[in-house]
Each structure stands twice: as structure tokens, then as C-alpha cells.
């Protein structure tokens, strides 16, 4: 019996125009992500890694092909419906953290739950739990400008996982972090993946990150070059 995938892309094309030229950011890409996957997307610059994440989340629309996220065809949804789907099903971690600057660390983490309309007590419990989990106790009331890069990325992770989404998408999450912080963050993501079974799909250039990924997907020119699962000892 086949299990419903968290994310499934079928024959997805995304073509950008640069002057007279057409750039195939995704060129007939098909991909299936199972629940609990801890998958890294690797490839040279311009291979389509970020476009893949954006298309998967419905932030960008493919020119052709099908994108099914948690059982819903993303390409057929309106702008508002896609926003709602992201709110319910997707957590985001960005390379440049992208926190809401006027909100504190706690409020940033709480944001998604507030939008979902979760009651205050449950919201408080979840946010306390996740801030503890990412090691931000004592920093809850600081605004992003008062946090280091590593701390900001931890807030971003907290925001991404607090709503227990079906899928966490991370675009080069360690790119702006020093080695120690990057490894610590990766450890945290692994821990969350193992503890909660959260599905992760992250793009990376970093060989250390690729080594830690449970599944490594390689893209070249918008096409799937390889897709293999790692066997960790």
C-alpha cells in the first residue's frame, strides 16, 4: 500500500525570461518526498534549488506540471488559498533569517499560531516548548536586531516548527552562519526530525550539511541528476 507523500512534483517546468533568453530553472522535474524525510537538495548555483523550494510552497507558480502538497494540488489554488495552505502545512527557514523586525523572538515564533487562531493557553505552551527546544530561553523578548545571526536562525527554526507543519522548507539555512553555529543548527533540525518526524527539505552548497542529510537530491540545470538515501552508521 502506497503512503500519501508529503510533497510530490510531477514534470514541473519553471521557465524565466532574461531578455531574449529562456532560463529553465526547473526542467521537467519530478520528485516525491515522504513523511519524515530529512532531504537536502544540492547542486551548483542556478541549478534550480531555490526555485524548487518556492514552487513546492506555492510561492512561485510552475509553467507546467503538478505540485501536490499534503494531498492538495497547489497549482490550482488561489493566492489566498496558497497562503492558507502554507500557514497550515509549511514551515520556512530562509538563508537570511527573514524575521519580522518589529516582533520579538517570542512574537516571531508565535506569529503562525496567532494567524491560525489558536487559543492563548495552547499557544503559550507551544511557544515556550519550542523556544526551550531551540535554546532561546531568556532571549524571548529581544527583537531580531538584538540577536546574533545564529540566534536569529534559531528563532526562524522555532517559527518554522512551532505549528508542527507537514513540511519544513529551508533555503540554505546555514549559509550565513559560522561552522559551529551551522553544525549546531543542523543538529537541532536533525533532532526535530527524529523527535517529531517533521519532514525537512533544504537546499545547500555545504558538504557538511550534505553528509548529515538522510536523503541527497542533486539538481543540474533544473533536472534531477541523482536522488539517493544515505545509510548512516
Amino acid at each position: 500500500m502506497s503512503v500519501q507523500p508529503v510533497l510530490e512534483l510531477k514534470e514541473v517546468y519553471r521557465i524565466y525570461r532574461q531578455g531574449d533568453q529562456e532560463v529553465h530553472a526547473l526542467d521537467g522535474l519530478s520528485l516525491r518526498l515522504e513523511a519524515g524525510d530529512f532531504a537536502a537538495v544540492a547542486g551548483p548555483s542556478g541549478s534550480g534549488k531555490t526555485t524548487l523550494l518556492n514552487v513546492a510552497a506555492g510561492l512561485d507558480r510552475p509553467d507546467r506540471g503538478s505540485v501536490v502538497l499534503d494531498g492538495r494540488e497547489v497549482t490550482r489554488l488561489s493566492r489566498s488559498e496558497r497562503a492558507r495552505l502554507r500557514l497550515e502545512k509549511v514551515g520556512f527557514i530562509f538563508q537570511s533569517f527573514n524575521l519580522v523586525p518589529v516582533l520579538s523572538a517570542r512574537e516571531n515564533a508565535e506569529f503562525v499560531l496567532l494567524l491560525r487562531g489558536m487559543d492563548a493557553a495552547e499557544r503559550r505552551r507551544r511557544v515556550d516548548e519550542v523556544l526551550r527546544e531551540v535554546g532561546l530561553e531568556g532571549l524571548e523578548h529581544r527583537r531580531p536586531s538584538e540577536l546574533s545571526g545564529g540566534q536569529q536562525q534559531r528563532v526562524a527554526v522555532a517559527r518554522a516548527i512551532v505549528g508542527r507543519p507537514a513540511l519544513v522548507l529551508a533555503d540554505e539555512p546555514t549559509a550565513n552562519l559560522d561552522t559551529d553555529t551551522a553544525l549546531a543548527l543542523l543538529g537541532l533540525m536533525e533532532q526535530l526530525n527524529q523527535a517529531h518526524g517533521t519532514t525537512f527539505l533544504f537546499s545547500t552548497h555545504d558538504p557538511r550539511v550534505m553528509e548529515r542529510a538522510g536523503r541527497l537530491i542533486r539538481l543540474v540545470d533544473g533536472r534531477l541528476e541523482s536522488d539517493r538515501r544515505a545509510v548512516h552508521s
Partner: protein, 414 residues
């Protein structure tokens, strides 16, 4: 919802200087508007009051057709006058009626030993007229008409000069009586000279007691007009409406109909003021639009982030509209805080027109007071604040739409 409003409020203070500059500009614009409206409305009220106190009334009861065609014979019959007086007595319980004044209007040739000139005769009840008009206060020589006295006159300064009249001197009035072809003449003695500053009064006006005018024109106790003076001219419309229901036979007119030239002037002046205010607000509007648009363009990445996090377009739209609402509210508070005390000061102390090199100004047949006093109703203040709110929210639509549509994912990757 609350988180959206909270973010909107905090966004406002990310660029404190810009927010303060914008709210100050809009607020001062509102203060200027309140000042302009206050002085405009106050000036008009003073003009209306001045005109009313120079022989008209906030409302007048006349024979039908008298306003349009005039005519010595077009009088209020005795029973009509009685009915009108009964109604006004009753109405004084509901309206701020200060005085009612019966009047007779006619024309005559006035002659003295030194010449003759055409004059306007106004027959008045001296006691009522002292309360109803400013004529008594404008007497510059001699005295105003004394109650009970007959065959005396107070004339405009121009008439006195032309006829070289001295106090107690004789003046012969010659004119046609009502319903007759015969020429009547009557001798009156000069009791006083008045100077209003308006040629139409000073060069032609002759005030005589009501009984003298009645006898001269043979009106048998009938009058041409019963003028009503109110404490609060805002009551005029309601009083006239009630009068038309209660005393249908005579014509009950408001000052707007009794003084059509003044009414047209006020309407035109108001229109001019509105156009000026519109230009003022268009300038301010561009400032608001610039602030909001810049603020949204600067935050394109943030709006895309909010989209990525699942904040629907409608909420992003609401966020910018909320920011505009905060700006409008702060601006209104500031505008009121600055504009209202200024209005109170100008309402109490006035603005001397001589500061602007203006003296002896008249318009639409009314001498304008040399000191302009501000008058602002809460309705006017409400209108102005609504204008600021409406305009700000209207201008926010474009930036808000832009925020709702933001979704350039390229911005998030770097």
C-alpha cells in the same frame, strides 16, 4: 487580526522621524483647515448678523410677493400681523427669539430749505427697533427715535449733508399714499443722524416712527414686514419651516431669501474656501501617499515574507490600511490639539483685519466688522476630521493593494 494591528502600529515607529513629519504635516493641515473654516464661518455669521441688524432679520414675515415685487399696497393685513405675532410668541418658547420689529417701507422726496433728494423711508417702532437693529447704535449726531414721539426722523449722514440739515431742523417728505394718486406731504423734524458706512443707508435712509409712516402712506395700521431677530442664527431654518406651517397666508422668509445677494455671496465665498482647502489637502495628500508608498516599497521583502508565512493578501491589505488609520488618527489629534485652541483664541479675541491693511471693508451690501471672530461648530470639526480620515484611507488604497499583491520570492533568497 490583533497581530496585524500590532505589527502595523510598530511599523509606524520604525521610522519615527518620517511618521512624525507626516502626522505633523497632516495635523497642521487640519489645524489650518479648522482655522480657515472657523474664520470663514465666523466671518459669514458676522456678515449675516450685520446685515440682519442693519434692517433685515433672521426671518421676516411679509405679504406674499412683497419680496419679489415690493409695492406700497402689498402689506400684511392686521389679522395676518396678529396671527404672526401669536405664532412668534409661542415660538419664543422653542427658539432663541431676541426681538420682533414691525416695519413700513416706502419712498419719498425729502426737501429742506437747502435742497431735495430721493429717500427710502423706513417706519419703525423705536422700542422694538432698538432691540432688533443697530440703527440706534449708529447715530452719530442727536438721538435715535424716542418711543411715543411722532413726526421726527433720523436720517443717513449723506442725506443730512445733501440737505444741510441741523438737529431740530425741518424736513418735508413728499410721496404717494397707498391706493391713491394723490401726493401727500408731511413735515418732520430731525432728531438724529446715523452713519452706517454703507452708502445705500447713509445716502438714502430716513427712519421715522411707525405711526408717522402709517399716517404718511395711509396704511391704516398695516405694515410691510415683521422682522424676527434670533440669538442663534442657526435656528433660522427651523423657525422659517415652522412659520410656513403655522402662518401660511403671509410669506415667511429666511435671511437667505430676504437677503439673496448676501446669501449668494456667502455661497460663493464658501465655494472659494472649499477650493482653497481642497488644494491645501491635495498637497498634504501627496505627502501621505508618498509616505505610505515609500513605506510599502521599502518593505516589499517583508510583505513577501508575510505571504510566505501564510498571511493572506487581505490581511496585508488591512495592515497598510491600519497604518494609514493610525496616521490619520494621530494627525487628527494633533490637528485638534493645535487648531482648537487657536480657534478658541480667535473666537474670544478675534483677528483684526487692519493687520492685513484692511479697513472699512464692505461686501454684498454689508459692512464687514474690522475684527473677524472664529466660529466652529462640532459638526464642522467632525466634517474636517472625516475629510482627513477619508482622504488618508483613500490614498492608502494604492499602497495597501501593492502590499496585498507583493510576492516577489526573489527578495527572500538574499
Amino acid at each position: 487580526m490583533w497581530i496585524v494591528l500590532r505589527i502595523a502600529w510598530r511599523n509606524l515607529w520604525r521610522n519615527t522621524r518620517r511618521t512624525l513629519l507626516t502626522t505633523s504635516t497632516v495635523g497642521l493641515g487640519l489645524a489650518l483647515l479648522l482655522l480657515a473654516l472657523g474664520l470663514g464661518d465666523g466671518g459669514h455669521m458676522q456678515m449675516i448678523d450685520g446685515a440682519v441688524r442693519m434692517g433685515s432679520g433672521h426671518a421676516v414675515v411679509q405679504a406674499p410677493g412683497y419680496q419679489e415685487q415690493g409695492g406700497l399696497e402689498r402689506t400684511l393685513k392686521a389679522d395676518q400681523t396678529r396671527a404672526a405675532r401669536r405664532w412668534l410668541e409661542d415660538a419664543s418658547r422653542r427658539f432663541s427669539i431676541r426681538a420682533t420689529a414691525p416695519r413700513i417701507f416706502g419712498s419719498a422726496l425729502a426737501s429742506s430749505a437747502d435742497g431735495s433728494t430721493g429717500v427710502r423711508i423706513v417706519g419703525v417702532d423705536p422700542a422694538s427697533e432698538r432691540q432688533a437693529s443697530d440703527f440706534a447704535g449708529k447715530v452719530v449726531k442727536g438721538e435715535f427715535l424716542e418711543p411715543g414721539a411722532r413726526d421726527i426722523a433720523v436720517v443717513g449722514s449723506g442725506v443730512a449733508r445733501k440737505l444741510e440739515l441741523e438737529l431740530g431742523g425741518r424736513l418735508v417728505l413728499m410721496g404717494q399714499a397707498a391706493g391713491s394718486d394723490e401726493i401727500e406731504s408731511r413735515l418732520v423734524r430731525l432728531a438724529g443722524v446715523l452713519h452706517t458706512g454703507l452708502d445705500e443707508h447713509d445716502q438714502t435712509l430716513v427712519l421715522v416712527p411707525l405711526e408717522t409712516a402709517d399716517a404718511f402712506y395711509r396704511l391704516d395700521g398695516e405694515i410691510h414686514q415683521l422682522a424676527v431677530i434670533l440669538e442663534d442664527q442657526a435656528d433660522s431654518g427651523r423657525l422659517v419651516a415652522e412659520g410656513r406651517r403655522r402662518v401660511p397666508a403671509p410669506a415667511v422668509l429666511g435671511w437667505q431669501e430676504a437677503l439673496p445677494e448676501l446669501y449668494d455671496y456667502v455661497v460663493m465665498d464658501d465655494a472659494g474656501n472649499y477650493v482653497f482647502n481642497l488644494f491645501l489637502f491635495l498637497l498634504i495628500a501627496f505627502m501621505v501617499l508618498n509616505t505610505l508608498l515609500m513605506s510599502v516599497l521599502e518593505r516589499a521583502r517583508e510583505f513577501t515574507l508575510l505571504d510566505a508565512l501564510g498571511l493572506p493578501p487581505a490581511s496585508r491589505f488591512l495592515m497598510v490600511m491600519a497604518e494609514a488609520t493610525y496616521i490619520a488618527a494621530l494627525s487628527c489629534l494633533l490637528g485638534l490639539a493645535v487648531g482648537y485652541p487657536l480657534h478658541l483664541y480667535l473666537a474670544a479675541r478675534g483677528l483684526p483685519l487692519e493687520w492685513f491693511g484692511m479697513s472699512d471693508v464692505s461686501a454684498a451690501g454689508v459692512v464687514i466688522d474690522p475684527v473677524l471672530y472664529s466660529y466652529l461648530s462640532w459638526g464642522r470639526i467632525g466634517q474636517s476630521m472625516l475629510l482627513v480620515f477619508g482622504l488618508t484611507l483613500l490614498l492608502a488604497l494604492l499602497p495597501a493593494r501593492r502590499a496585498a499583491r507583493s510576492g516577489n520570492v526573489q527578495l527572500l533568497g538574499t
